[in-house]
Amino acid sequence: MKVVVFCKSVPDTETRVRLKDNRLDKSEIKYILNPYDEFAVEEAVRMKEAGKVDEVVAVSMGPERAREALRSALAIGADRAILIKDDALDGSDTYVTAKVLVKALEKDGVEYGMLLFGQQAIDGDTWHVPGQVAEMLGLPQAGSIIKLEVDPDAGKAVANRLVEGGEEVHEMALPCVVTCRKGLNEPRYPSLPNIMKAKRKPVQDYSLADLGLSPEEVGRAGSFTEVLSYSLPPKKEAGRKVEGEPEEVVQELVKFLKDEIKVL
C-alpha cells in the first residue's frame, strides 16, 4: 500500500507577528514544517517500518520555501515528494487548496491506500483542507486522531478521534483520510544520515499548467473566501479588584465568570 502525507510550510510557532499595510509582514519569518504534519509523516513512516506501507509520498502546495518543509518530511522518512508551485496560487482559500491537491494526486497517479493530514496548519488554522479533499474524492475520514490501526490486507483502518468527553472509534474502508494530532505518536528527530539521504530523494515539481488548471481557477481569483484585512488582537484591559463581604464579592466573581468570560 502507498500513502500520501500532506505537508504545509508554516511560520515557526515562536515567530512574532508583525503587520505591514494591513497584511502580514513576512520578511522576518522563519518557516518550518507544520508541527501537526510531523505527526502525520511519523505515522506514515512507522507504518512503512511495520511493513504495512511500501511508499510514503509527501505533497505540498506552496512557494519555493515549501521545498524545505518537504525536505524535512523526507528526512523523517518519506520516500519522495511533490511540490506544487505557481505564483498564481497565492491567496488560494482552502477550497482551492484542496482542489489543487486533488489534481496533483490525479496527475501523479499514485494508488494511495490512505491520505494523512495534520489536524490543522498552525497559520491558517482552519482545519478545512483534509475534509474538503476527502469529500472531493468521496473518501471516509477520521479527524483529530490519537490512535490508528491499519490492516491493508483487510482493506480497513480503525481510528480513535479525540472529541469532547472521550474518543470516537471509527472503522473505515481503505482508502481513507485521517488527520493527525498530538497523542498519536512522538515524531522522531531526523538523524544526520537521514538528512543526507533526504537530499538525494526525488522532489517532483508541478506548475498549474502541469495540473491542467488555469490561473483564474485558483489563487484569489478562484477562491470563495478572501482575507480582507489583518489586525492585532486587542490588548487586555486592566483588571479589577473587589473588596467587601464575601457573599457580595463572590456574586461579582460569578458574574465575571459567567457573563464576561463565559466559562460557566
Binding site: 525536505r71 544520515p193 543526507m196
Partner: protein
C-alpha cells in the same frame, strides 16, 4: 562570500537545537548534580548520527562537513555543555585522527563503531607532570614482538569513564623529545589498563574526567596510529581541530546564558518596570549579543577553512581564545542581570558560569593559544 548555511546544515542545526531544548535543557541541571550524562542521551546522540558528523558514510558516519559538526557542538552545548564536550572530544580528538592517520584496518575496526556511536572515545595526553608541555609526558611504550607495552598514568581524561577506545600518547624514544612520541589505540579490555580516580570539578560536572593507569599494558602493534615518532604531530592535528569544537562549546554556553538573561530582564520588574527598560541592562545585553556573534563567526570560519583543506590552525586558536573569553564574560554578566537569583542553583546561569571556565583551559590554555598565535605571526 556567502554567510549562509546550506539546506542540510540548517536542518542539522534546527534538529540539534530542538533536541537541546527538549531533551538536554530539562535534564542538564540534574545531570550536573549527579555527575553523569544519562545513558539515554548517549543512545539518542548515537541514533541521530552525532558521533560521526563529518566521517564519510562508508565508515559509518553521516558524511557531512566540519561546519555542521561545529554547529552541532554549539547547539548541544547550549543545552548542556557536558554533552557538547562529550561529542567534541570524541570527534576531534580521536575520530578525526583515526580518519586522518589510520590504516584501512584501523578504520574498519575502530572508526566504524566510533562514528556510529556504538563506542565512545577518549584522548589521553595529559599527565600529572605534563600539561601544557606535552613533550614532557612520562608514559612509555616499548615494542615487544608484535605488541607494545605501555607504562604510565594519564589524568584529566574526558570521557575516561564511558569510553571503550582510548587514543593514548606515549614516548617510544625519550631521547628524541617530540620526535619520540607515538600514538596508540587502546581498548578498554587491554590487559594492564585500568581507570583510576574521577575528578570532582567546578563545571562540566556531567562529563567524566578520569585518571587512566597503564601497568605493563599490552596492546597489539597494529594499534600504533600513524608511525612511531609521529605522535606529537598527530596530537597537534587533534588540538587544531579540537579548538574549533571547544570554541563552539564556548559559544553555546554563552548563547544559553545570554538567552536566560534576556528572558529574565524582560520579566523581572523593579521600580515598576521590567529591568530590560534600564539602559544599564540593555547595554549588557547588547554587548553579549555582539561578542557571541563575533565568536561564532570566528569558529565558523575556522571550520570552513578546515573543510576546504586550507590552513586553519591560526584561526582555530584565535576562535578558541576569543570564544572562551566571551563565554566567561557573557556568563558573568548574565548572572549580574539576574542579581541574587543568578547566584542560586535554581537558575541555569549559575551552571553556565561554572561550565564556561573550562573552555579557557583544556585543549590548550588561553596562554598557550596566545603563544601559538604570536609564534605564527612572528615567524618567517
Amino acid at each position: 562570500m556567502r554567510f549562509e548555511f546550506t539546506e542540510e546544515q540548517r536542518m542539522v542545526r534546527d534538529m540539534v537545537r530542538r533536541l537541546a531544548d527538549e531533551e538536554l535543557k530539562p535534564r542538564a541541571a540534574e545531570m550536573d548534580k549527579k555527575g553523569e550524562i544519562f545513558p539515554e542521551i548517549y543512545q539518542q546522540l548515537a541514533e541521530l548520527g552525532l558521533f560521526g558528523v563529518y566521517v564519510p558514510e562508508e565508515y559509518g558516519g553521516a558524511g557531512m562537513d566540519v561546519v555542521s559538526y561545529a554547529t552541532v557542538v554549539e547547539e548541544l552545548s547550549r543545552g548542556c555543555a557536558s554533552t557538547g564536550i562529550l561529542v567534541s572530544a570524541h570527534t576531534s580528538l580521536v575520530v578525526d585522527p583515526i580518519l586522518h592517520y589510520g590504516t584501512e584496518e584501523q578504520k574498519q575496526k575502530f572508526l566504524m563503531p566510533l562514528a556510529k556511536g556504538e563506542k565512545i572515545a577518549a584522548h589521553a595526553m595529559t599527565e600529572p607532570g605534563a600539561g601544557t608541555d606535552v613533550v614532557s609526558i612520562a608514559t612509555t611504550a616499548k615494542r615487544d614482538g608484535d605488541h607494545y607495552i605501555l607504562n604510565g598514568t594519564k589524568h584529566f581524561i574526558t570521557n575516561g569513564k564511558e569510553a571503550s577506545i582510548y587514543l593514548v600518547f606515549a614516548m617510544t624514544d625519550k631521547e628524541k623529545r617530540h620526535k619520540g612520541m607515538s600514538a596508540f589505540i587502546v581498548e578498554k579490555d587491554a590487559p594492564g589498563f585500568s581507570i583510576g580516580k574521577l575528578e570532582h570539578k567546578l563545571g562540566i560536572r556531567a562529563s567524566s574526567t578520569a585518571e587512566l593507569i597503564f601497568e605493563n599494558c599490552r596492546i597489539p602493534a597494529e594499534n600504533l596510529l600513524g608511525e612511531e615518532g609521529q605522535g606529537f604531530y598527530i596530537a597537534m592535528h587533534c588540538y587544531d581541530g579540537g579548538r574549533i569544537g571547544v570554541a563552539a562549546q564556548a559559544v553555546g554556553i554563552a548563547q544559553a546564558a545570554y538567552e536566560e538573561a534576556v528572558e529574565f530582564a524582560k520579566t523581572r520588574v523593579q521600580f515598576g518596570q521590567p529591568i530590560a527598560n534600564f539602559q544599564a541592562i540593555q547595554f549588557k545585553l547588547a554587548d553579549m549579543a555582539t561578542m557571541i556573534e563575533a565568536a561564532r563567526l570566528l569558529y565558523l570560519k575556522a571550520a570552513w577553512l578546515k573543510q576546504e583543506g586550507k590552513p586553519y590552525y591560526q584561526l582555530s586558536a584565535m576562535a578558541k581564545l576569543f570564544a572562551s573569553d566571551v563565554a566567561m564574560r557573557v556568563t558573568r554578566e548574565a548572572i549580574q542581570v539576574h542579581g541574587g537569583y543568578g547566584f542560586t542553583e535554581e537558575y541555569p546561569v549559575e551552571r553556565h558560569y561554572r561550565d564556561a571556565k573550562i573552555t579557557e583551559i583544556y585543549e590548550g590554555t588561553s596562554e598557550a593559544q596566545r603563544l601559538t598565535i604570536a609564534r605564527n605571526l612572528l615567524k618567517g
